[in-house]
Symmetry: C2
């Protein structure tokens, strides 16, 4: 289930080390509407700076991606290299350079090995159609343990269309640690402004709700290309299929974000932190992220220790409006804290924590705002002392 | 070198496990001026709530401390227990309960084993003078690998006085992970308001400049008792010895904070992050803490990898006003980044990073504000993958 009119290619350019595909191209046979969300880090990699300019046109036709080198903090040379990469691809594709986007991931501060990349671009273009989207997903991996691809069908009136996303996640999933790239392609015919708005909403409810986004890296980006080759009636503001499109797009980004969490370095469990009945949306998010980012909570869960005091402490320092005596906490179906005091269900909860998918539900009883955040546990030797601190 | 008029006692109360002293008492023979800094966590342990009320009098005579149980999140019972502990001590000391402060550290959410504590308090009081300050420092340890005591002499006119501090630090020193307690005693005669102000200043330049303070625990506290038994001319606003007192007090707190960093779990190196020439004080602190709290920076330093891109990335997401092209970075004496671009000194810097005490100096060239923050490296198996990511 691949959207119509997209071709893929991936080659070995030996950017960091030999023996793996590290340079890939996603190409739409016709000019597509594009939208993108880029890192909020003040220090942006060269390709990000380039893309942010080009995307103002809302048009694109190709994305060139490499792993092994982030092309960040390389000064003017970095910008020149990113431009040259896109120009080179444009030349061999015979399209305008402004339709080519560039994405890089890897080490910061090492100049791109341009001689090797230059050499490989003709081959990369020539082999378009010779690779699968899965091979592109593999080529963009860095510390990822598995490649990440999500494919969804969507029926728009009588047209069977597809939305396909690939991404690379972070080895370590804690804030400040992530570099994530995500590329989404679809043959759905969507208005450019709607595409932009819908992508931002999807990102906000997926990648921005895992604990990677707290501190974006220099290279983070999420891009979507919609080439309209399904020839459906355009999806615009009034379209009755807009909500379907929204839903499937969110499915794609949410599943990818869950894969990123599952691939957290050393992760053995996926943890969903749900905060209910906060006074404001902001309070709900502060609480959820404070708990999801607490290494003490994460090590306790890894160690199967229902040490809910660590959750209380995180809620306390979250900065949100919380009242100790109003807080209830559930681990799965087990009520472990009622009105801020332990219920004595610790042993039951310890057994629950042996599961691979853990739900923490925190009810603040302050208002009506809720949110969910995904994270993973922290394992490994380094964590051992904290996980066993209580027992 | 112990301040006049202070007595110590430490006993085994079997609060968490047998075979170690876990209940201690610091007693001043006369009523002392006291000052305290308490956690900013919204969820405060019972003893903290009690102390914050009592310290409004600026007077005190005894501090009762236990390890093994934090007496936090125990609802009304927690407060009742803290009050009972102080009342009990006051009764046996034959002083007013309002002069007794209580401090607890350990597990959250487990009620205090009051039957054992009640039983031990008479013995604790009876044995006053039978323990050393070092034994008190040992009794308050939790995951600390060594006890922390700093003793300094200070001459005020013709009087030889002393300032002695003890503290317990955090096993893990990253934000959200710390529980720190610190008790300082002195026989210097100091005005109560001045004592309060000077303590806050000292804490701000020591404990608040290590990466424990970003997120305070439910139990954090720093307290000073000054009993004036040196009978020096009182140190007040106009006193010519005020600056000496300030300096020695800061020495005590700074050395203790350095000990906390050195005792960071798995720490093999102490890292000082100095930010120079930021536009504002706030910007300097944002940058220093972003770098000091970056697990990626800390693992790179542990691995002896001068991966300065991680420092640049942290500066970028710090929220401070930084300009990539204006940033210089030094590792010790080695200039590794000039105007935002690598200088090619990576190999030299790798050798420097083999040292046990590491200095990172970041010059933003934006203004005139500087700051320093202490942290430690991150070691252990869990970190291995990131430390070797680059090589």
């Amino acid at each position: 289930m691949i959207p119509r009119g997209f071709l893929f290619s991936a080659v070995e350019a030996n950017i960091k080390k030999p023996g793996r595909k590290d340079l890939a191209l996603i190409f739409s046979e016709s000019v597509a509407n594009v939208a993108g969300v880029f890192t909020t880090n003040r220090i942006k990699a060269a390709p990000i700076i380039l893309n942010m300019k080009r995307i103002r046109s809302n048009k694109g036709q190709a994305i060139l991606v490499n792993s092994g080198n982030a092309n960040a903090c390389n000064g003017k040379r970095g910008i020149m290299d990113a431009i040259e990469m896109s120009n080179h691809v444009a030349k061999y594709l015979d399209i305008k350079p402004s339709l080519v986007y560039v994405s890089s991931t890897g080490v910061i501060g090492t100049p791109m090995p341009m001689e090797r990349i230059r050499l490989k671009i003709p081959e990369l273009v020539k082999r378009l159609g010779g690779s699968t989207v899965e091979e592109v997903a593999e080529a963009i991996m860095t510390t990822d343990k598995f490649s990440k691809v999500v494919k969804k069908g969507i029926k728009i009136k009588d047209k069977d269309c597809a939305i396909v996303g690939i991404c690379k996640g972070a080895g370590m999933i804690c804030p400040k640690m992530a570099t994530m790239l995500c590329f989404i392609i679809t043959d759905v015919n969507v208005d450019g402004d709607i595409l932009d708005r819908e992508l931002r909403m999807a990102v906000d409810n997926s990648f921005n709700k895992i604990t990677v986004d707290g501190d974006m890296s220099t290279n983070d980006m999420v891009m979507i290309m919609a080439n309209g080759r399904a020839e459906n009636d355009i999806i615009n503001k009034g379209s009755k299929y807009l909500s379907d499109f929204r839903e499937v797009l969110l499915d794609v980004t949410y599943e990818l974000s869950k894969m990123i969490v599952r691939d957290g370095e050393g992760a053995t469990k996926v943890i969903e932190v749900e905060v209910r009945n906060a006074k404001t949306k902001n309070d709900a998010e502060k609480c959820a992220f404070a708990v999801a980012n607490s290494n003490l909570v994460k090590t306790a869960i890894h160690g199967g220790d229902s040490n809910w005091g660590r959750i209380m402490s995180a809620l306390g320092y979250s900065g949100a409006n919380v009242n100790e005596n109003e807080i209830d906490i559930m681990m799965g179906d087990i009520l472990i804290v009622k009105n801020g005091v332990g219920t004595g269900n610790d042993e039951k909860a310890n057994i629950y924590l042996k599961n691979k998918e853990i739900k923490l539900i925190i009810d603040l009883h302050k208002g009506s705002h809720s949110t969910r955040v995904l994270t993973c546990d922290l394992s490994e030797e380094y964590i051992r002392i904290n996980a066993s601190y209580r027992s």
